[in-house]
Amino acid sequence: MALGLLTLLIVSIVIFVAVNLLPGDFAELILGQGATPEAVAKIREDLGLDQSLVSRYFGWLGGMLTGDLGSSFAQLNFQTNLGGAGGVTVAEQIAPRFANTMFLATVTAIIAVPIAVTLGILAALYRNTVFDRAANILTLSSISSPEFFMAYVLILFLAVLNPILPSLSNIYEGMAFSDRLEKTLLPALTLTLVVTAHMMRMTRAAIINLLASPYIEMARLKGMSPLRVIVKHALPNALAPIINVIALNLAYLITGVVVVEVVFVYPGIGQLFVDSVKIRDIPVVQACCLIFAAAYILLNLTADILSILSNPRLRHPK
């Protein structure tokens, strides 16, 4: 737990320092080439850029912890041009999108995890048969294809040639749950295809690794059916690696989500991230990056804790 927090802290330093490697400073970046020195000085003061690097870092970190992520450059520009005061804060921009991304990830996980584990068990049960080999080739292909290829193939077949699902996920607030689910389904299916393949292969490998153990031999010799051997004896012992793989893939979802959200114009945090990268909206990029990293670290940490919980030998160390 402490290790995870420490990693997160160091990651936040890395992100902050990386962003401060920018030539010139934010003030010139916002105002462009032809800015007057007075305007630059004013913006520098507004953003607190006249303070030292260390005090700015702690200010930023403190803001992060209290939910104040600063204000977006793009919004600032826009608002000040219109004569308004301040703009939409980064937190206000990110919050609804973060909820959308979590929704997408949850739907994907609900579809993908049961399918992956079931298929993995089946592949281990019928190993070295036609089914296993076909599954091997299919999963290998879907792991190695880029996400946008999968996305466009799915759009082609499920949205254009057979109009079953909408190809654009225009989600807005106050939408009925069923509508929202329908619009989320196609991006979720794309992510499912990518993630399931990996989880299934690892489940299969984890179970097959155990099949040479003496207790499996024993269970077989006493006449148990192959399915019962795997579900009752192999699966509980393979839980730790399987949980690890599931968490790892959910963490991977966070990265995959960026491309898929762009393809389907899904209003999630990944889309916001890419848009901000393009217009160099540094505070938003910084905040998104930290959120992604935090989710990534958190999931890996959860995996470690769960795999300890699932293993009695680790739960009660000698």
Binding site: T7, L8, I10, V11, V14, I15, A18, V19, L22, P23, G24, Y126, R127, F131, N136, I137, L140, S141, I143, S144, S145, P146, E147, F148, F149, Y152, V153, I155, L156, F157, V160, L161, N162, I164, S167, I208, A212, S225, P226, L227, A251, I254, T255, V258, V259, V262, F273, V274, V277, K278, R280, V285, Q286, C288, C289, F292, A293, Y296, I297, N300
Partner: protein, 401 residues
């Protein structure tokens, strides 16, 4: 809801057919061992496989039906089926060729190679030829805007559809030949990915071996640093650094692509570092390293002459996988618009630029070919490399259960 009901009904029918298939089998063959010991799952699998096969045959027949609307609907499935059969035959022929031509070593290698791996090698050779000789093969330049030609992305060059036989895959929105851009895309995308992977291996490999040989505080510092870098998702980190690099590149006048190679190489070198260090640590404890140290050999000799030759096999397999990751990252960055910059032709950018044509596929299926070809070109290469790596790993791990 009705779709779910239909699926459930289908599964129930297959289950019933599977049960009766096994039952009839037992009766007809007089309870032969094959049917007597068949579990229900296996019977279900047979019937399901048969249903899928029949459906594919039916879909293929639909794709060549005379009714244009149905044929359009199944056009891509038909193409996929044809491609699958064609690729299988090609892979088989290539394996046959490999078994009979070449030195004794290569013939031995081809004797028990699976079809997937032979397909992978064939595709890799094809891409390598395209990438190296792109300038000679491509009919037009990659950024050559052909004047006087109407934009037409329908492949085939059929004058009746407004095409021109001189451009077999059509021309894009601003009148560049799509075929030439695809071929040059092989050179740019694959070449840049290859260079990036080499750089990542150079950085990660030498630092990893160094950490293994020297150990102590250097090992600690490097390993913890790598831990931190690996805690940030790689695509996210790459995007963050690309934002910064885009400002720098405007400032310094260095192309953004150069920064991209550097950034992805550094991010991916962390994974190489982990492997190189682990492999190196196993080798460092060997006696011959001790002997070399006692001879008074320098660090460079130890790393490049003693450790590297003994670490080639795992590093080579990792090279294939790493290449795939780098290639996919670059494609994703280009697709998002921050990777390889125009006027260089590149597949990720092509997909993004042409993607909207997919929506016309319902009426003119050929309109969707261009974006799918570019995306498919990426997928084909990574799948091929993965097939070969999978086979190599399987071979080196021996025959597991």
């Amino acid at each position: 809801m009705s779709a779910l009901f239909n699926i459930a009904l289908g599964v129930a029918i297959i289950a019933a057919v599977a049960w009766s298939f096994r039952f009839i089998g037992q009766k007809v063959t007089g309870n032969a061992a094959r049917f007597r010991d068949m579990s229900f799952g296996v019977a279900f699998g047979y019937v399901l496989g048969l249903v899928v096969l029949l459906w594919l045959v039916w879909a293929y027949l639909q794709s060549i039906s005379s009714d244009q609307a149905t044929a359009n609907k199944f056009f891509f499935l038909g193409v996929a089926i044809k491609a699958f059969i064609l690729f299988s035959i090609l892979a088989w022929l290539f394996r046959l060729l490999g078994r009979n031509v070449g030195t004794a070593g290569t013939r031995k290698m081809f004797r028990n190679i699976p079809l997937t791996a032979s397909f992978g090698i064939l595709v890799i050779i094809f891409y390598a030829v395209l990438a190296i000789f792109a300038g000679a093969i491509a009919p037009y330049g990659q950024d050559e805007i052909i004047s006087g030609v109407a934009a037409n992305i329908i492949p085939g060059g059929d004058p009746a559809l407004g095409g021109d036989p001189a451009f077999p895959l059509g021309t894009d929105q601003i009148g560049r030949d799509i075929l030439s851009r695809l071929i040059f895309g092989a050179q740019n995308t694959v070449g840049i990915a290859f260079a990036t992977t080499l750089l990542a291996f150079f950085i990660g490999g030498s630092l990893g071996f160094l950490a293994a040989v020297v150990g102590g505080w250097l090992d600690q510092v490097l390993s913890r640093g790598v831990d931190v870098l690996m805690a940030i998702p790689s695509l996210i980190f790459a995007l963050l650094l690309m934002t910064i690099a885009s400002v720098w590149s405007a400032e310094l006048g260095i192309p953004l692509t150069f920064f991209m190679v550097l950034i992805i190489a550094v991010i991916d070198s962390t994974r190489v570092f982990r492997l190189a260090r682990a492999v190196g640590q196993n080798i460092v404890v060997m006696d011959y390293i001790e002997a070399a140290k006692l001879r008074g050999e320098g660090m460079g000799y130890l790393v490049f002459k003693e450790i590297l030759p003994n670490a080639t096999a795992p590093l080579l397999a990792e090279f294939g996988l790493r290449f795939c990751f780098v290639f996919l990252t670059i494609a994703a960055l280009s697709f998002l618009g921050v990777g390889i910059q125009p006027p260089l032709a590149d597949w990720g950018t092509m997909v993004r630029d042409l993607a909207s044509f997919i929506n016309f596929a319902q009426f003119a299926p050929l309109a969707a070919t261009a974006p799918l070809l570019a995306a498919g070109a990426i997928a084909l290469l990574t799948v091929a490399v993965n097939f070969v790596v999978d086979w190599m790993l399987h071979k080196s791990s021996g025959l597991k259960e």
